[in-house]
Each structure stands twice: as structure tokens, then as C-alpha cells.
């Protein structure tokens, strides 16, 4: 029981030592762990080969290469937080990238318009997922597995053996994709901006908090009268829109669009979110963590060859990392749970 005798009338909890608490709070965050792992990886790799960080391209690729995955991981994290999953993002990315390519080739619309169309198309594809999940009450895993096939199939059917080359794409977009501003690549800026918005959305707005609530306990969400259908739609639409944007980023960075664009990247996005501490059954984890997870995964891929590990082993390392992350997560969750229980016993 919670009441004690010796405490007079219980009062509000004591204000704590702010600074010290901040520090312990920071240390306890899941994101801190990933950030530390990421930095350790950078330090070790750079020690082996200074070029990894201290060269123009090394520095550039550090933030440029993960930008696309960060974009997808943010969307994926939002969806997973609501206790769903979006496996169709790879296909959405492919389809929107091809759409953008075709628009450049066939219409000559200004770049910005094409970007908006691609993002909107991604959002629509996401909405289709969301609607099927929310209204048909079918698990997102099945639905998005289905749309993974459908979206990819549509793209392949449309593209045939067609392929869009760098020369078909407006040079402005390509320059943007490889250009920098203040020593940081443009695409990285975009991913930072998205991340900032997403963090704000998920931490400080009702929509974001309701995402967490729905994922934490869908039944309770119904009791609270939260508009869970609408929220699920929003989460999927956001994920789709981000995949659409990722499609554009892909075009601007790689300059060619072939039929396989984005194939398999959905699992990398889920992997990034999981490594980043987003619980696969919803309710906890942050977009920042997912983004850090994306950084870690991408950078490991780049670092292994530098460290002398044949790149064939990259996937194995990534797999071990994902498993390690969820085992660790469970361990910390248990410890936290036990601690909370113990606190209760003491009280």
C-alpha cells in the first residue's frame, strides 16, 4: 500500500537536484546509448583510417549517406509507435521516385512542383495503407506486405525495362542532391529539419502523444475517446509522404531510377527503428532514436570495409546488432519494471 504513517499529509514530490538529475536522465535514455555506440564506431574507424571522417568526402558522406534512411526511419517509427508497421515504404519510395522521373521526362514541370506531387503521391499511398488498417481492422503487417507487392508491381508494370538516367533529371535537382550548405550536405539538412519537426510533433503535440497512447494500449485509447482511426491514418500518411520525399532524395542523390529502387529498404527502416529503441509493439521509443539507429546502421555499412572486414559480412553484423538491441531493450525494460515494483514495495 502506498500511504505511510510517518510522512505527514503527503505533499507534492520534492523538487530534485536539477543538474544531477538531468545528467542521470540523459544517461538513462536509450538514445544516449545509440549515440555513444555511433560515436565509438566513428572514433574507431577514423583511428584506423583518418579519411573516414577527416576528408571532404568522408565528412560529407557521414551525414549524406544516411539521409534517405533517416527519412524512412522517422516515418516508420511513427507507425510502429502506434502499434503498426509499414512494410510498403520501399515500394512507395520506388514508385514515387519513378513518378518524379517520369514527370521530369514527360512534362517539364518545375522541380518544386514535382517534389510536391511526389510527396503527395507518397501520402496517398500511405493513406491507402492506413485506411485498410484502420477500417478493415486487419493487421498492418499483412496489409503493408500486400501493398509492398502491389506498389512495386505497379511501378514495374509502368516502368517496364525503362530506366531514367541522370541526363533526364534537371541538373538543378542533381546539384542540390550533391551540394552542401555550411559544409553540411543539403540532403542532410533536409533530414535534420524533418527530424526536428518530427521530434516536436511526437513530443509536444497532442497528435504525437496520442500516437503513443494508441500504441501503448489501444483499448484504453478507446476508453479515453481518442480518435484512433484518424491517428492511424495520419501515421501511415506521414510515413507514406516521407517515403515519397525519400524517393525524391534518392533521385537527387543517385540520379538514376531503375526498377529495383528501394527494394528491401523497408526492412532496413524497421531495423533502424528497432535498433533505435522503438518497441515493435508500440507505445515507446522516439523518432530521434530511430534516426540514430539509421545513422548507426548506415555508418556500420560504410565502416566495415575500412576496418578490414569484408563487406560480405556487413549484413551479419547488422543482424547481430538488431538482435543485440532488442535483447538489451528487454533487459532494461525488465530492470525498469523490477525497479518500479521494488519502489512500490518500499513505499
Amino acid at each position: 500500500m502506498t500511504t505511510t504513517l510517518d510522512a505527514p499529509a503527503p505533499t507534492a514530490p520534492q523538487p530534485r537536484h536539477r543538474a544531477a538529475n538531468r545528467l542521470t536522465w540523459l544517461l538513462k535514455q536509450r538514445e544516449t546509448g545509440i549515440a555513444v555506440a555511433f560515436i565509438a564506431l566513428l572514433v574507431v574507424t577514423t583511428a584506423v583510417n583518418p579519411n573516414f571522417l577527416f576528408s571532404t568526402d568522408g565528412w560529407r558522406d557521414l551525414t549524406l549517406t544516411p539521409a534517405i534512411l533517416v527519412c524512412l526511419a522517422i516515418g516508420q517509427a511513427m507507425v510502429i509507435v502506434t502499434r503498426n508497421v509499414d512494410l510498403s515504404v520501399g515500394s512507395t519510395l520506388g514508385l514515387t521516385a519513378y513518378l518524379a522521373g517520369r514527370l521530369f521526362l514527360d512534362t517539364g514541370l518545375p522541380v518544386i512542383v514535382v517534389v510536391l506531387i511526389a510527396v503527395a503521391a507518397g501520402a496517398v499511398l500511405g493513406l491507402v495503407n492506413g485506411a485498410l488498417v484502420a477500417f478493415a481492422k486487419v493487421p498492418a503487417l499483412v496489409i503493408t506486405l500486400g501493398t509492398l507487392y502491389v506498389y512495386r508491381g505497379i511501378m514495374l508494370e509502368w516502368a517496364g525495362s525503362d530506366r531514367i538516367n541522370a541526363s533526364d533529371i534537371p541538373p538543378g535537382l542533381l546539384d542540390f542532391g550533391t551540394g552542401s550548405f555550411l559544409f553540411i550536405p543539403n540532403l542532410a539538412w533536409i533530414s535534420f529539419a524533418l527530424l526536428a519537426v518530427a521530434v516536436y510533433l511526437m513530443r509536444s503535440t497532442r497528435v504525437g502523444r496520442e500516437f503513443y497512447a494508441i500504441g501503448s494500449d489501444p483499448d484504453a485509447a478507446t476508453l479515453y475517446g481518442l480518435r484512433d482511426k484518424r491517428r492511424v491514418l495520419q501515421a501511415f500518411a506521414t510515413s507514406g509522404a516521407l517515403a515519397g520525399l525519400a524517393g525524391i532524395l534518392y533521385v537527387s542523390r543517385y540520379g538514376t531510377i531503375s526498377s529495383g529502387v528501394g527494394q528491401g529498404i523497408e526492412l532496413e527502416a524497421v531495423g533502424a527503428a528497432v535498433v533505435g529503441g522503438v518497441a515493435i509493439f508500440g507505445g515507446s521509443g522516439t523518432v530521434l532514436g530511430a534516426a540514430l539507429g539509421a545513422y548507426l546502421l548506415t555508418t556500420i555499412n560504410r565502416a566495415l570495409p575500412v576496418l578490414g572486414i569484408p563487406d560480405f559480412w556487413q549484413q551479419a553484423v547488422v543482424g547481430a546488432l538488431i538482435i543485440g538491441a532488442i535483447v538489451l531493450d528487454r533487459y532494461f525494460a525488465r530492470r525498469q519494471h523490477d525497479k518500479l515494483l521494488a519502489e512500490r514495495e518500499e513505499a
Binding site: 500500500m1 503535440t205 525497479k339
Partner: protein, 508 residues
């Protein structure tokens, strides 16, 4: 009828879940500035009524008026908007989110940019908790909080709504004396501010101490409403049960034989300590205590679905291995769990599969089993227990509570057990079936079964048990013979040995 419209009024409201008529004709009229008791047996339909008021369920028929205007809420947010706050029977919190967030979810204060004002939320929570006298850290997650603490958060949540109608569905079930006292103070304050409060409880002392009006429900229907001053406890009980209470406990004489189930020093830190008990042939042993005393945990540990740290369990002299329910079943132990829907039945499976699940190994011929074999066995046992169902492929989840309990009993009796452990045998079962179950238990004991019966209903324990063992906060505090067991002795033991807190209530 008074001419001012009541704050909340329900007239002949009905609600069915498939074949289950949870509410046939529920009526309730609560005036502003009053505390209104709603009482009724388990399954009388109180919670269903509440959920209709809350906008969680939509009524099938009847009228629902708030301050004289007819309303029809499609979800709980609309009801909240209209000033209805509800504390549900089971706490409903988001385990991953902080206490503060839980209280404000869906209606957080925001600034112009949609940014949630965390500081304002925290300030308000601190104030609320101070008012309630609750020492809970507002920033911690609700995961791991005790049921009592969760209940307090629910109360804080309802208070923060500044509601015109506040409904509390058994808020005190898990609270200690002090906490109940504080809750009552809050309820009275709200009443004085003009709020209409509905208070649901099975504890008549609380009802009589707090409420000014009382409505009785039975079997999903309205029975009566009276000023509390005009009725006595006995009168209410009679209306509640609808028949003479003595009918309910048809205890038969049974010859008590050799010891069957013996438990020695069973311990699981934090849940129960050093529990020792013996159940003999033909004997019904009652395990009494307050909700949360750890009785279910003990039973689950004995049966092997939960672990324990030390102690031993033997059946008919043979040690029952820990953590192996299948072996326990083979040895002759059967366990009817407390939570029928979660643990007792596979709700989405047919009656036949449910009954034969623990015996499928035995029923199989050369390792193979078929629906035919299952149906023959299931039909036999369903008939013995008089399960009311047309076909054996009826899904268990569609049966009424009483019939579900009969299916569970059929399932366990088909294993031909020596000892039956039964946790809350009649929870959520209507009055008729209740006495059937009791008669059944008596008959089984007469046929030589040992029965360990856990029950929170004192009359049930006193009416049925040959011997009563009482637990309090995980400790065994008394073992009383049938003669020694009275409401007073059992209750004293059930509240004894509380650590610091309860010394007060003993002293007072």
C-alpha cells in the same frame, strides 16, 4: 416526479452482447448535489450501465438524459465534453506514458502552436495529488504502479475534468482505509459543489456512510430507488439477491478422509510468504482474504502456472513438480481460475475443444485425436454439468457467464481430479447458477474430492467451507474451523498483519 430535471437520468436502458443480455431495463435518476449509490450483485449490469453513460457502449433501447436533454454519445470524448467523468472498474492507463500524460491524454492544454504546455499540466497534477493526498511522482510511467495507485490516478483524472456527473465504479475495491477516507472527503466536496456523484460498491458500510440515495439493480433490471435513511442493510440485501440467502449455500455432509493436497512453506517474495495448508478427501477448504491478498497467486503457484521460490507441494504423497501444469493435471490436480475469460476458456474455440483440451493426450488413440472422439467426451461431461447449449461447436465465448463456468468445470472434472482448486467459483454468475455451482461443489466433496476454494464473498466462504484459511498481504494469518469462522474472525484475520499502515485501523 420532481420538476427540475435530474443531472443524469436513464430510463429503461437495454444492452445486449450477442446472446448475453447484460442490461434489460436499467434506470437511474441522479440529482445534482447528491451522492447516489448503485448496488447489485456481480453481473447485475452496473458496469454496463456505466459504460453506456460514458459513451463507450451505445444503448440498444431506452432514454438517456443529461440535465433534461436527451443525448446519444458516439464515443467517450463526447461524453467527457458534456461533463461526464467516469472511473471504470478496471483501471485503464497507458503503461508507457507518464502519470501526468495519462491524466491529460486527449485534452492536454496547448498553446497557439499546438505545443503541449507540460508545465501547466504538471502544476495541475501536483495540485490534484495534494488534494487527494497522493504521493505519486507525476513524471514516472504508470507501468508498475499498484492497482490502488492506478485507481487513485483514475480518480485524479476524473477530478481534473471538473465534471458535472462523476461515476465511480467500485473505486474503493483496492484501496486501504486511509485512502477510502480521503476519497470520501473528495466525493463530499464535489457533491457540495453541485456535482452529481454515482458511487458503485459492494461494501455496504461505505455506501451507508457516504451516499444519500440508493438504487438497487438485479439481473440487468432496475429494482428500486430510496433515500438511504429509509432503508436498512438487510432490506437492500434482500432486494439485491431476490430470494432467501440460505438457499445459496446448500452444504452437504461429507466424510473427511486422508490428506490429499499438502502445501509446505510456499514462498514467492513480494507476493506470498510461507504458506502451508492441507486439503483432505471430502473437504472444502476456504481461502479467504481481501482482494490483492495473494490468494490467486498461491493457487497458481500450487498448480504450476506460476513459479515459486521455496516450499513444496505434494498430492497424495507424491511431490508435484513446480512449473509443470501438465504433470499436475496428470497427478490429479485441477484448477478453475479466477479470470474465466482470460485464463479459464479459449473463448474463440468451441465448447468441445475447451472441455477436452487438458485431456486430449488421454483421449488420443495411437497418438491421434479427432473431432468425433472429442465430441463424445465433451457431450458426456457437458451433460453431467447441464451446460445449456444447443451444439458442441458453439464458441465458448458466446455462452453466458454461468454456462461458461460450467464448461470450465466440465473441462476439469473430465480430468478425473483428486483435488479441485477453484478461484472465485461464482464471480460474475447469476443467482440461479450460483446455487447450482455451490450444490455441485458440495456433491463433489461428498464424492471424495478435496476442494480448495478461494472466494472474496464472505457468505460463500462461511456457507461452503469446512475449514477457512485466511491470507493477508501474502501472509497466512488464520486457520479457522467451520465453527470458529464468523464474519468477525475472518475479517480480523484478513486485515491483520498489515505492516505499518494497518496498526492504525486496529488501534482505532
Amino acid at each position: 416526479m420532481p420538476d427540475t430535471p435530474a443531472a443524469l437520468e436513464l430510463r429503461d436502458v437495454a444492452k445486449s452482447f450477442g446472446p448475453v443480455r447484460a442490461l434489460r431495463s436499467g434506470s437511474l435518476r441522479v440529482e445534482a448535489g447528491s451522492i447516489h449509490a448503485l448496488v447489485g450483485e456481480n453481473g447485475a449490469g452496473k458496469s454496463t450501465l456505466v459504460k453506456i453513460v460514458a459513451g463507450l457502449y451505445r444503448r440498444d433501447a431506452g432514454d438517456y438524459l443529461l440535465a433534461g436533454t436527451s443525448v446519444d454519445f458516439r464515443n467517450t470524448a463526447e461524453a467527457k465534453q458534456a461533463g461526464v467523468a467516469v472511473i471504470y472498474q478496471e483501471p485503464t492507463l497507458f503503461p508507457d506514458l507518464s502519470v501526468t500524460e495519462n491524466i491529460f491524454m486527449g485534452r492536454q492544454p496547448t498553446n497557439r502552436w499546438g505545443r503541449i504546455d507540460r508545465a501547466a499540466m504538471r502544476t495541475e497534477v501536483v495540485e490534484l495529488f495534494a488534494r487527494l493526498g497522493v504521493p505519486i511522482e507525476p513524471d514516472r510511467p504508470t507501468e508498475g504502479l499498484s492497482i490502488a495507485d492506478q485507481q487513485l490516478i483514475e480518480i485524479a483524472k476524473a477530478l481534473s475534468l471538473d465534471a458535472k456527473v462523476l461515476i465511480m465504479d467500485e473505486p474503493t475495491a483496492a484501496l486501504s482505509g486511509n485512502e477510502v477516507e480521503r476519497l470520501m472527503t473528495v466525493a463530499r466536496t464535489l457533491r457540495d459543489q453541485g456535482c452529481a456523484v454515482v458511487f458503485i460498491s459492494h461494501r455496504f458500510d461505505e455506501v451507508f456512510a457516504l451516499c444519500d440515495t440508493i438504487t438497487v439493480m438485479r439481473d440487468g433490471a432496475y429494482i428500486s430507488t430510496d433515500p438511504i435513511a429509509d432503508v436498512t442493510e438487510d432490506e437492500i440485501v434482500r432486494r439485491l439477491v431476490g430470494r432467501e440467502v440460505s438457499d445459496l449455500y446448500p452444504k452437504l455432509e461429507a466424510t473427511v478422509g486422508k490428506p490429499l493436497l499438502e502445501v509446505r512453506g510456499l514462498t514467492r517474495t513480494g507476493l506470498f510468504q510461507d504458506i502451508s495448508l492441507t486439503v483432505r478427501e471430502g473437504e472444502i477448504v476456504g481461502l479467504a482474504g481481501l482482494v490483492g491478498a495473494g490468494r490467486s497467486e498461491v493457487a497458481q503457484a500450487i498448480f504450476g502456472v506460476d513459479p515459486y521460490e521455496s516450499g513444496e507441494v505434494t498430492l497424495d504423497g507424491q511431490p508435484v513438480p513446480p512449473g509443470d501444469p501438465r504433470r499436475a493435471i496428470e497427478m490429479g490436480l485441477a484448477f478453475v481460475p479466477e479470470d474465466r475469460r482470460q485464463h479459464g476458456l479459449v473463448l474463440d474455440a468451441p465448447i468441445s475443444r475447451n472441455i477436452t483440451l487438458p485431456t486430449s493426450g488421454r483421449l488420443a488413440r495411437t497418438g491421434l485425436i479427432s473431432t468425433g472422439i472429442e465430441n463424445r467426451s465433451a457431450a458426456d461431461w457437458a451433460a453431467r454439468l447441464e451446460v445449456k447449449a444447443a451444439t458442441l461447436d458453439t464458441l465458448a465465448g458466446t455462452l453466458s457467464g454461468g454456462n461458461q463456468q460450467k464448461v470450465v468445470l466440465a473441462k476439469w472434472l473430465s480430468t478425473q481430479p483428486k483435488v479441485l482448486i477453484i478461484d472465485e467459483p461464482t464471480r460474475g454468475i447469476d443467482v440461479g447458477t450460483k446455487s447450482e455451482v455451490h450444490r455441485l461443489l458440495s456433491t463433489l466433496a461428498q464424492e471424495g474430492l478435496g476442494i480448495l476454494m478461494i472466494s472474496s464473498e464472505l457468505p460463500e466462504v462461511l456457507g461452503m467451507a469446512d475449514r477457512v484459511i485466511v491470507l493477508s498481504e501474502g501472509h497466512q494469518t488464520a486457520e479457522l474451523s467451520r465453527a470458529e469462522a464468523t464474519p468477525e474472525t475472518v475479517m480480523r484475520a484478513a486485515t491483520a498483519h498489515h505492516s505499518t499502515t494497518l496498526n492504525v485501523s486496529e488501534a482505532s
